[in-house]
């Protein structure tokens, strides 16, 4: 069975600038994985090198285009410029070097058979289902993170938005069941889409105009629904009901306690105003001032 790669490292070889990478696998064995010097045949990366090389080359070209629009010799701010004090000097050097380095990576990738690998990789991707396990896992990691920062945090009460993120992420990943991750992601995506509509059309301002905490209450409803949905999914796993019950309880505890503790530390300990303070924060203020 293929052992899982845990660590990949460079081991000092003959001279200062030559390192021999080794990989530490889950069975505890250290195996030499590839060479980066004269024997470099790290072929599995060469296909990706072509794509990344092109992307960096485009970035380099973009840097050069923008840099040449900066004042090179022209006067700026009432001062007659000379080329060597131009703000474009280093960006031009950076852009040009990035293009040269990406061409070098690109050529090396092509020479090492990267094009064939790329074609094979695309063909393999076409055969596979788009939402394969790997993609779903990646999406389940990224969607909540992006949704939290770009959608939820600016418009929903801080502890509630954090609780939604934690409940989903801990709940589905801690269950270690692909089916739960898939179903959970589907529901979470619908919730995110709903929140996105509210944010894009600034509906939160209209809703909060009617009653001050309407958006927060809506988010709380989403959170409660998410809790019950994940609970149902976890409790329905055949043969592991006791284990799943324990895991659900732990997920619930962490996703409720963490936002409250973090908010208390940052808001009341470090005096950091939260991005959005609403329903729960209001309760926390009441408790804080009552104690004080």
């Amino acid at each position: 069975m293929q052992q899982r790669l845990i660590q990949q490292h460079l081991v000092f070889k003959n001279s200062f600038l030559f390192f021999q990478p080794v990989a530490l696998f889950s069975d505890g064995f250290i195996r030499i994985k590839f060479y980066m010097n004269e024997n470099d045949k790290n072929k599995d990366m060469r296909g990706a090198d072509i794509v990344i090389g092109i992307l960096f080359m485009l970035l380099g070209v973009g840097i050069l285009i923008v840099s040449f629009q900066m004042p090179l010799k022209a006067s700026y701010g009432g001062v007659q410029g000379v080329w060597y004090v131009s703000p474009a000097l280093l960006p031009i050097i950076i852009g040009a070097t990035m293009i040269l380095l990406s061409i070098s990576i690109l050529i090396y990738g092509i020479k090492q058979g990267g094009l064939d690998l790329l074609k094979a990789s695309i063909a393999k991707r076409k055969k596979e289902a788009f939402f394969n396990d790997d993609t779903v896992r990646m999406l389940a990691t990224l969607v909540p993170l992006i949704a939290l920062v770009f959608i939820n945090m600016p418009m929903i009460d801080f502890p509630i938005s954090i609780a939604i993120y934690l409940m989903f992420t801990i709940g589905v990943f801690y269950s270690e069941k692909m089916e739960i991750i898939r179903k959970g992601l589907a529901v979470y995506s619908i919730m995110t889409a709903l929140n996105l509509i509210i944010r894009v059309f600034a509906l939160n301002k209209i809703l909060d105009g009617m009653f001050i905490f309407t958006t927060d209450i809506l988010a709380l409803v989403e959170l409660i629904y998410l809790i019950f949905f994940i609970r149902k999914l976890m409790f329905n796993v055949d043969g592991e009901k006791v284990e799943m019950k324990m895991r659900f309880k732990k997920s619930l505890r962490v996703s409720w306690i963490t936002p409250l503790v973090i908010t208390a530390i940052f808001r009341f300990g470090l005096r950091v105003p939260m991005p959005k303070e609403g329903f729960i924060m209001n309760f926390m203020y009441l408790i804080y001032y009552a104690i004080k």
């Binding site: 010097n37 970035l59 070098s104 090396y108 896992r137």
Partner: protein, 503 residues
């Protein structure tokens, strides 16, 4: 400042911390937190320093330094816990420790192995303190003679060497990552003409890219993605009873200790090269010079001592370029640089003038942190090992939240998060395809220094590059840059390969 007054500051700083119970508590608390951060796979020393930076920004600078240095020392050492007991290095720095530590644990000697790593790490940190105290003032004095061109070349050298050594694939990728970091540093108003570069009309971008959120994004987010995506389960830890400090073994290996400490300090002083490289180089050297190299990999004490002394000595080594020139020696030191800026400390040659005694103060904190690390390691190890059984799916999302609130708290700008998340995702993919993170980070940090010094130098020489070829330090730096570049090219590698085949 003479030696006597330095000693006076050193001991007064020691006395000041020891006599303040809150500072002692903070020292031990942060060291323990560092050990836990280092021990838990997925959490790193850099991330530990990054997250603590956000919590210390309201503190007095002197107190904040205690917390940050303590977590740094603790985290570099903490990686050995998981390396020895579950064969998964908690941090990259302790990967080499797993080579000997885990076979020892399998023989039922986990306690002895941990005792060795604890003592060796404390010794490594202590030896590096001597270098911090001796070398930083010397290098600071030397760098006072540096002109703008030297600083530009130094920044350029930092990016290049860090790209060459830390890259797991072709060196061009390392350099490209460094230049990408440099580009990020160019975003915002430049220092000489206040011209908004790559801002595209955005006020937030005009203010420039803030270093700390970029660092948190680059080091934190990829870890979270990787751990959650790969669904790692903690294996059962080896049985651990009593931790034995093993002083007699240490006494027998003084030669290895000195050599490993020198390797650690030396590698730590090279910009952007972290504790992991120091540990591997030290391990490789110990094996190559051993009378019984065939025993390596079976649980040999020398191997553990070599790696642990080197990776902890690297801390002091990394502080040398950081405090004397403002160039971080390792990724956690890069984070520490961000923290120093936040607390209004500008590391560099002027540090000994603007803040006399600061370097000695850092040395005193390092000494106390290594004592705290030894005490925590010896007495609390079984408790920390129990924590290794916590599933990463439970704590990684919480770390994600800490990264988010931490980045936001520094400047109270939600825009910091808009930078941090894409930066984290980009770094994740770059790492996946063989691009190293350290040169990228070094590029972001040194970008402004490279830009303003290049233009200032040219302004003084009226556009002439002649000073670069006439000043001795410039010439040395140019030679090293050209050497690093040439030896990294594919043509040179092919030439070497052909010559090797002929031989």
């Amino acid at each position: 400042m003479n030696v006597e007054s330095q000693f006076l500051i050193f001991f007064s700083q020691l006395g000041s911390i020891i006599t303040h119970p809150t500072q002692v508590l903070l020292l031990f608390g942060c060291t323990l937190m560092g050990i836990i951060f280092g021990a838990l796979p997925g959490l790193t020393a850099t991330l530990g320093v990054a997250l603590l930076t956000t919590l210390t920004y309201g503190m007095d600078m002197n107190v904040a330094m205690i917390a940050l240095m303590a977590i740094y020392v603790g985290a570099v050492y903490g990686g050995s816990f998981s390396a020895i007991t579950i064969n998964i290095p908690g941090t990259a720095a302790s990967a080499a420790t797993a080579m000997e530590g885990y076979p020892m644990a399998k023989k039922g000697l986990a306690g002895k192995a941990l005792g060795l790593t604890t003592t060796a790490s404390a010794i490594g940190t202590c030896i590096s303190i001597i270098f911090v105290v001796v070398f930083i003032p010397l290098i600071s004095k030397l760098s006072m003679q540096f002109t703008s061109f030297e600083y530009f070349l130094l920044a350029f050298f930092g990016i290049l060497i860090s790209g060459s050594i830390s890259c797991p694939d072709t060196v061009q990728k390392g350099w490209l990552a460094g230049f990408f970091g440099l580009f990020l540093a160019m975003v915002g108003c430049d220092e000489l003409q206040i011209y908004p570069r790559f801002a595209f009309g955005s006020n937030n971008l005009e203010a420039g890219v803030e270093v700390v959120p970029v660092l948190i994004g680059a080091f934190g987010i990829p870890q979270i993605i990787q751990v959650l995506k790969e669904q790692q389960r903690p294996p059962k830890a080896a049985k651990l009873d009593k931790i034995i400090p093993s002083w007699s073994v240490i006494g027998k290996n003084l030669k290895h200790i000195v050599r490993s400490a020198l390797i650690g300090v030396g590698i730590g002083a090279v910009p952007g090269i972290g504790e992991d490289i120091a540990a591997w180089v030290s391990y490789g050297t110990a094996k190559n010079t051993s009378k019984h190299p065939e025993l390596y990999g079976t649980g040999i004490e020398e191997g553990i001592i070599a790696t642990e002394v080197a990776n902890n000595a690297c801390i002091g080594g990394a502080m040398i370029p950081l405090l004397s020139m403002g160039i971080p020696g390792s990724p956690p030191a890069a984070m520490l640089l961000g923290a120093l800026y936040l607390h209004g400390v500008a590391p560099g040659p002027m540090l000994s003038i603007t803040r006399p005694g600061f370097i000695t103060q850092i040395a005193a904190i390092l000494l106390l942190a290594s004592c705290a690390m030894w005490i925590c390691g010896i007495f609390l190890a079984p408790k920390v090992v129990k924590l290794l059984q916590i599933p990463p799916q439970l704590f990684m999302p919480v770390v994600g939240v800490l990264c988010i609130i931490g980045s936001y708290a520094l400047g109270l700008k939600i825009f910091n998060l808009y930078l941090m998340i894409p930066m984290g995702i980009i770094t994740y993919y770059l790492t996946k395809y063989g691009f190293p993170v350290p040169p990228l980070v070094i590029g972001v940090i040194l970008g402004k220094m490279a830009d303003s010094n290049l233009r200032r130098g040219l302004l003084v020489s009226e556009g002439s590059l002649k000073p670069m070829f006439t000043r001795p330090v410039c010439l040395i730096l140019l030679f090293v840059i050209i050497f690093t570049f040439v030896t990294g090219t594919q043509s040179y590698k092919n030439f070497k390969a052909r010559r090797k085949q002929k031989d």
